[in-house]
């Protein structure tokens, strides 16, 4: 991303952002995947993912590539995440009741261990992450169009 000083923050912030954004995203994904082992989970991880994208837009201004994600894509992904979580819940019907944890529980401390919990964590984090990023986009884009008019 060549730096044009017109939008976004100063060059210093941009170079640091290029380094930290990847780490924040990775940390968010770590929190989501290890939701059932260590503190955190679907919600915290999702918000961290959203924050890493917001961090990118704050540093590189409205013309950052991330800001080009259309609102439709964001809200579609979000409804998709919600549908995924509902389907994980409906999965329980196979085993009898609504939210039953049908998959085998595996060994306690392993990564793939707690049945449907990791999958619900992942679907929640997709929903929360993209949803909050869509809110931030809506607040930014609204301001943008008004100023152009």
């Amino acid at each position: 991303m060549i730096d044009n000083p017109k939008n976004g923050m100063s060059l210093l912030v941009k170079t640091i952002t290029r380094i930290t954004v990847g780490l924040i995203l990775l940390f968010g994904i770590y929190i989501v995947l290890h939701g059932h082992l260590s503190p955190g989970g679907g919600f915290a991880g999702g918000v961290i993912v959203a924050l890493s994208l917001v961090h990118l837009i704050l540093a590189f201004g409205r013309e950052a590539k991330v800001a080009k994600i259309s609102m439709n894509l964001a809200s579609n992904l979000e409804s998709l995440g919600a549908l995924m979580f509902l389907s994980v819940a409906l999965l329980g019907f196979l085993g009898g009741t609504f939210f039953l944890n049908v998959l085998n529980k595996g060994l306690p401390f392993k990564l793939f261990s707690a049945g449907t919990i990791p999958f619900s964590n992942i679907s929640i984090s997709i929903k929360v992450g993209v949803g909050l990023f869509a809110i931030f986009l809506a607040l930014i884009i609204l301001e943008g169009t008004k100023r152009k008019r």
Partner: protein
């Protein structure tokens, strides 16, 4: 002991956040209360909550500052709503008085009666396979709450997009098609 200090700091920061004239500094005041709350969660042995509170707090601050920063805002002018102040303070005094007496009957701080929770702690890991019991409660014992929770967030996102869309109603001329 440190909890008492933290709570006093939060009360002080809340008073500052409510009373100070400039909007941006009151937003910073709320941020201080939020981060102190995150510390309180850490002291109360709730790491899940500390992470979530910290991160949600940051997002709230960003949105709040977004709402206040680029508005050419005059300083907040204070009206002299005498009756309103008196009514609010009277209600607060009555509420705190009865709350003080009601709090006496709650189990004292530090030993909650954990009748339902004993089973979660004892067999939580075995039944759900999740090591982090809070996640076990969220996504297995009370997963229905979390479905409601995800729907709350979904509703607020759709609500925000409905409120922020540009043309609320079709223009008058579009409407009566005859």
């Amino acid at each position: 002991m440190e909890l008492h200090l933290l709570l006093l700091f939060m009360i002080f920061a809340a008073i500052v956040a409510v009373e100070v004239k400039d909007l941006l500094s009151s937003v910073i005041g709320v941020g201080a209360v939020g981060f102190a709350l995150c510390l309180a969660f850490l002291i109360l042995k709730a790491p899940d909550l500390a992470i979530t509170q910290l991160v949600v707090e940051i997002l709230c601050l960003i949105i709040l500052i977004r709402a206040t920063i680029n508005k050419d805002l005059p300083l907040v002018i204070e009206g002299r709503w005498v009756f309103n102040t008196f009514a609010t303070l009277a209600f607060v005094a009555v509420f705190l008085f009865f709350a003080f007496h009601a709090l006496k009957e709650l189990p004292s701080f530090g030993d909650p009666i954990m009748s339902v929770v004993k089973r979660y702690i004892a067999q939580g890991k075995a039944e759900t396979g999740a090591v982090n019991l809070v996640t076990a409660v969220i996504l297995d014992f009370r997963a229905y709450d979390t479905l409601g929770e995800a729907t709350v967030l979904f509703a607020s996102v759709i609500g925000i997009m409905a409120v922020l869309r540009r043309p609320g109603r079709k223009k008058i001329e579009e409407k009566n098609h005859d």
